[in-house]
């Protein structure tokens, strides 16, 4: 192929040569080339191997509709970009390109060697073949994945970053062809704030080709482009693809800010791509249309291209895609291309499937050959097209027949135009279905959602002037909807006709007629799916994979529907289309995430004591979003050793824990007490100021959703604590019940989790320490009993001290204003050295509480455990004046069953075996029916053996019996069922050292 002398409207800059590397060899192109135009000039072929049969493929299109030319850029590097369409990738210096397909290589593809088997590989082949035996599925999957025709996923972290930008616009115009440009300018001149988007590097769309040959077009284009650039109320975003249109005109668009720059020239401060979220009061879709290929045998050969693509390569990139050309089609646009090719010195043969009445004498005089009532029935060639066989055809009713086989035309380029499919995608994202038009032989946008207009080629205008007028008309309508007036009136233009003929499918060698090039779906596959009784086009699509690829069938789908129509005899309009869903073209995950990655996506929360924990060498674990100390290793201690030491300190002398992460909700109002009684299962009527109470919270279904201690400050003021992970959920739960069910309750809630910090002092010597650091509270057992709280001054700081315990030991929780949290923690740690105070983390907390059989909501409960199931029936007050949430459910026949799964303690026969959490339990060693599972399991340093909690069907009744645990390791281990309180059942430790 050759580069032509300078063309009037070419996009390339011949002064700037760029080199790129394709499969280890260097080639060159010009700045402004797409990768595809540069590959065409360099005769790079094949560019791809097909998905299923490994057929050699070339470049077919010049835009985003390209199904074949998928490549990997910068393979294996931090800039690795998979499945890039060569046709819309702009060439940059030292671009590294690999084909996306080819197993093991582009040159030698095993799938092509399997040619004798291809006839068995029709639709449903994989479903039918790789079905049995079932346990081979993973192997099948692994093997088949290797054969898929797509790029490898990136293996390295992305070197670049992404961001989002938000816009509001009066009118957003999608597509900057003649319709979009005219619409944007008219809208702006009418006073609207306008955003104009286009996926290409510069405005113009398909009009660039018109400008090359039409002086009037060029003048209008230049004038409009300049006017748009100077118009202050228009923002133009190029290289920006509107990929989704959601409800209320939320338009999502992806701007490729740096993809066109050489890697070295990219600014690391700038994002690579930006996702724009545009809320527009009115949207004008001037999205254009995609040309369809024709259906004949071997229509997928390299060298067979869309006519519009040949035209674009000619005018925009000065590339002549072939010098022996056959143009085939069913509409008038093919004659325009023929004339332009004649200008470029090529004498094409035009094969028109219609009985065209167009006067083609002039073309013929200039050297073109015209055949009407003819069609290509087969292309010939192995690595690329070398000839086509054409035949005279005739249509009777809906049937096409070959009248006589005519001639073989040698050629190295076939340009096809099977009509134009409007780009209806965005219009369909909100649920509209396109409507088939017999006049235009196309599915037209329904455009039936409010505040939306279509204009130009998507609205079946074939010429730039019609598109322009339609754009102005759409702008006038959009302005009127905004109560603005256009500066000049615009009338609805009449559509010119391309005289597009009906779909032509000859059923000649249907197993060589390709519909979806990217997925190797052939006409015979559609016929087979229908023969196997698939009727809905949605089912035919899924069975054959028509339109599945990264191109989503932009060139193939409508032809597939036409074949289905021809095979079934059902008209196109009744068959309809499959569903168009976002994204219009693939959007990289990074762009969806934008800056919301890592900590900006999932922030970390720290307690005020964080720095002290880090200094103490704590290991952390994430709870909700909190970073909580997990354990505090000393020297080279492992988790097990550290936890043993920490637990021993808590049980025998003194330990401390940071409990600041517990959710805290401040509840105030005359009805605060009543609210507590309604949301907790237990009684609250008599809880006096200075007292605390443990509460269990259920949902309306009677299942435990949270627990925690609530302190009574006064009759109208309570502080509720929630589980660390449940704080937000509980807060929303309270609000919802208050606002929707009990608005009469005079109460309000404030989340105060971050306002307070909590240092828990735990162990028999806790009282000794408290007496030393707080002189205005009497810590004696009599004056300050368990489940009381006192207001006082701890180390000079106003504090609320609660005597509550999650370990079974004497324990005081010192709550202070959060800013004093670290001071209190550090002071307690220092003063506590007298008793060798030991900080402990969540792991020891879990072990200590499990030794006492205290539940952790979300670990020992899972949304299917009632208070009774958890053995906490004592916390259910059935006789409250107003029933609590979930009360009625507790007596539902299913909830009240005696043989529900119940929370019990387990002891393994071997004291050193720690069962894995989640481990399955069975009644008898030979059983396979699951009786329950282990919810918590630890080695208890206090008891010097393993302990576990589990939910077991009918577990309460089975206490004292032996059941069996079945860990995934395969053993069957006997375990004894008992109650959950493994330690200090007599509560002798609770008061500590007196």
């Amino acid at each position: 192929m050759k580069r032509l002398p300078p063309q009037p409207c070419e996009r390339i800059n011949r002064k700037q040569r760029l080199s790129f590397k394709w499969h280890g060899r260097w080639y060159s192109g010009f700045a402004g080339d797409t990768l595809a135009s540069a590959m065409l000039v360099n005769d790079v072929t094949p560019v791809a191997r097909s998905f299923k049969y490994g057929r050699r493929r070339g470049i077919m299109a010049a835009g985003v509709e390209e199904p074949n030319a998928l490549v990997t850029l910068e393979s294996g590097s931090h800039h690795h970009t998979p499945n890039v369409r060569a046709t819309d990738a702009e060439l940059y210096e030292e671009m590294q390109v690999q084909a996306a397909s080819g197993v093991p290589s582009l040159e030698h593809d095993i799938r092509a060697w399997l040619k004798p088997l291809h006839r068995f590989m029709s639709a449903g082949f994989y479903y039918k073949t790789f079905k049995a035996p079932k346990n081979w599925w993973p192997w099948y999957e692994k093997g088949l994945r290797r054969f898929s025709g797509f790029s490898a996923a990136p293996s390295e972290p992305d070197a670049e970053h992404y961001d989002h930008q938000y816009h509001h616009a009066d009118i957003a115009v999608v597509g900057a062809g003649p319709a979009g440009m005219a619409a944007a300018l008219a809208a702006a001149q009418g006073g609207a704030r306008v955003i104009l988007l286009d996926e290409r590097p510069a405005p113009g769309g398909e009009m660039v080709s018109d400008c090359a040959t039409d002086q009037q077009a060029r003048q209008w284009f230049e004038a409009t482009r300049q006017a748009l650039e100077t118009q202050a109320n228009v923002s133009i975003l190029t290289r920006t693809t509107a990929y989704a249109l959601h409800d209320y005109n939320l338009l999502l668009a992806l701007e490729r800010r740096q993809d066109h720059l050489a890697l070295k020239a990219r600014n690391p401060q700038h994002s690579r791509q930006r996702s724009h979220r545009i809320r527009a009061r009115q949207v004008i879709l001037a999205t254009g249309s995609h040309e369809r290929p024709l259906l004949f045998a071997n229509n997928d050969l390299s060298g067979i291209m869309l006519a519009s693509a040949v035209r674009r390569y000619l005018h925009e990139y000065a590339v002549l895609c072939g010098d022996e050309v056959v143009i085939a089609g069913n509409n008038d646009s093919i004659y325009v291309l023929a004339s332009e090719l004649l200008n470029a010195g090529v004498r094409p043969v035009v094969v028109d499937s219609r009985d065209s009445s167009l006067d083609t004498a002039a073309l013929q005089q200039r050297g073109a050959v015209v055949r009407t009532n003819h069609a290509i029935i087969e292309a010939v060639g192995s690595s690329r097209v070398t000839a086509v066989r054409i035949a005279e055809i005739r249509q009777t009713g809906n049937r096409w027949d070959i009248v006589s086989l005519k001639e073989t035309l040698p050629c190295n380029l076939v340009a096809l135009s099977g009509g134009f499919s409007p780009v209806v995608h965005l219009d369909c994202h909100t649920g509209s279905r396109p409507v088939f038009s017999g006049e235009f032989q196309a599915f037209m946008p329904a455009c039936d959602r409010p505040n939306r207009f279509v204009a130009g080629s998507v609205n079946a205008h074939p010429d730039w002037a019609g598109c322009r007028d339609d754009g102005m008309h759409a702008a006038a309508s959009a302005l009127a909807a905004l109560a603005l007036t256009p500066s000049s009136p615009a009338e609805k233009p009449r559509r010119k006709s391309l005289g597009t003929g009906p779909f032509l499918y000859l059923s000649h060698k249907p197993d060589k007629v390709f519909l979806d090039m990217q997925n190797d779906v052939k006409a015979s596959d559609i016929a087979q799916a229908i023969a196997e009784n698939y009727r809905s086009i949605e089912h035919i699509k899924r069975y054959t994979a028509l339109g599945f690829g990264t191109d989503q069938g932009k060139t193939g789908n409508v032809n597939g529907i036409a074949v289905a129509s021809a095979v079934t005899g059902i008209p196109m309009e009744q068959i309809g289309t499959t569903t168009f869903r976002p994204m219009y073209t693939p959007v990289t995950m990074g762009a969806l995430a934008g800056e919301e990655t890592g900590l900006l996506y999932d922030p970390q929360r720290f307690t005020p004591m964080q720095h002290s924990h880090v200094q103490a060498g704590a290991q952390f674990e994430v709870v909700g979003q909190w970073m909580r100390p997990w354990y505090f290793p000393q020297g080279d201690e492992d988790l097990h050793t550290a936890v043993a030491r920490e637990c021993q300190a808590a049980r025998q002398s003194l330990a401390m824990m940071d409990a600041s992460t517990l959710g805290k909700i401040d509840i105030q109002g005359p009805d605060a007490r009543e609210l507590l009684a309604r949301v907790y299962t237990n009684a609250w009527a008599k809880l006096a100021p200075g007292k605390c109470r443990y509460g269990l919270m259920c949902d309306e279904n009677g299942m435990i959703i949270d627990d925690g201690v609530t302190a009574c400050v006064s009759d109208t003021h309570f502080i509720m604590t929630t589980t660390t992970g449940g704080a937000a959920r509980v807060y929303a739960h309270l609000e919802r019940w208050h606002q929707t069910e009990w608005p009469e309750l005079r109460v309000c809630f404030t989340s105060v989790t971050d306002h307070w910090s909590t240092t828990a002092v735990v162990g028999p010597k806790a009282r000794r320490l408290m007496e030393k650091i707080c002189s205005d509270i009497d810590f004696s057992v009599e004056a300050f009993p368990f489940m009381d709280w006192r207001e006082g001054t701890v180390l000079g700081v106003p504090a609320r001290v609660m005597r509550i315990s999650f370990s079974g030991e004497l324990s005081y929780e010192i709550n202070v204003q959060a800013n004093y949290g670290r001071y209190i923690w550090d002071q307690v740690h220092e003063i506590g050295q007298a008793w060798n105070i030991t900080p402990y983390g969540t792991e020891s907390m879990h072990v200590l509480r499990a030794e006492k059989g205290y539940i952790i909501v979300g670990q020992d409960t899972d949304g299917s455990i009632t208070p009774h199931d958890a053995g906490m029936g004592w916390a259910v007050a059935r006789n409250k004046p107003y029933p609590f949430i979930g009360l009625r459910s507790l007596s539902r026949s299913d909830t009240a069953r005696a043989d529900r799964k119940q929370l019990v303690g387990l002891l393994t026969a071997d004291p050193d075996t720690v069962l894995p959490e989640g481990c399955q339990l069975v009644r008898h060693p030979e059983d396979s029916a699951m009786l329950g599972h282990v919810t918590s399991s630890y080695h208890s340093p206090t008891l010097q053996r393993s302990i576990a909690m589990a939910v077991v069907r009918n577990g309460f009744a089975l206490q004292g019996e032996t059941i069996y645990a079945r860990p995934v390791s395969g053993e069957t281990l006997p375990v004894l069922i008992r109650d959950t309180n493994f330690y200090d059942a007599g509560k002798e430790q609770l008061d500590g050292e007196r």
Binding site: Y248, E700, A732, T740, L887, R888
Partner: protein, 90 residues
């Protein structure tokens, strides 16, 4: 991705600021209802296609709950009402 006008804040804001909070005006069954009636209240929803009455909460705003009448096929919002307005009607 629709816009909801919070009746308390008085501004059309992005759907992302709000949380869906289930079907509105489900009458809580009395304590003495049968298992079947209680189960119906607990588990069965109308799941209507077309106009539905829903509860939404302005989670990232004023945190108030209110009612939205929405056509769940077209996402057209037909009406927005507070619970207070309901009470003054009756």
């Amino acid at each position: 991705m629709f816009l909801i006008t919070c009746p308390y804040c008085g501004e059309a804001r992005e759907e992302q600021e709000f949380s869906y909070a289930g079907e509105a005006l489900i009458k809580r069954a009395p304590l003495d209802s049968s298992d079947a009636e209680w189960g119906d209240y607990l588990f069965n929803r109308n799941n209507t296609k077309g106009p539905t009455l829903e509860q939404w909460q302005h989670t990232l705003g004023c945190r108030k709950l209110f009612m939205v009448e929405r056509n769940n096929v077209t996402n057209d919002i037909l009406a927005i009402k507070t619970f207070e307005s309901l009470r003054s009607d009756s």
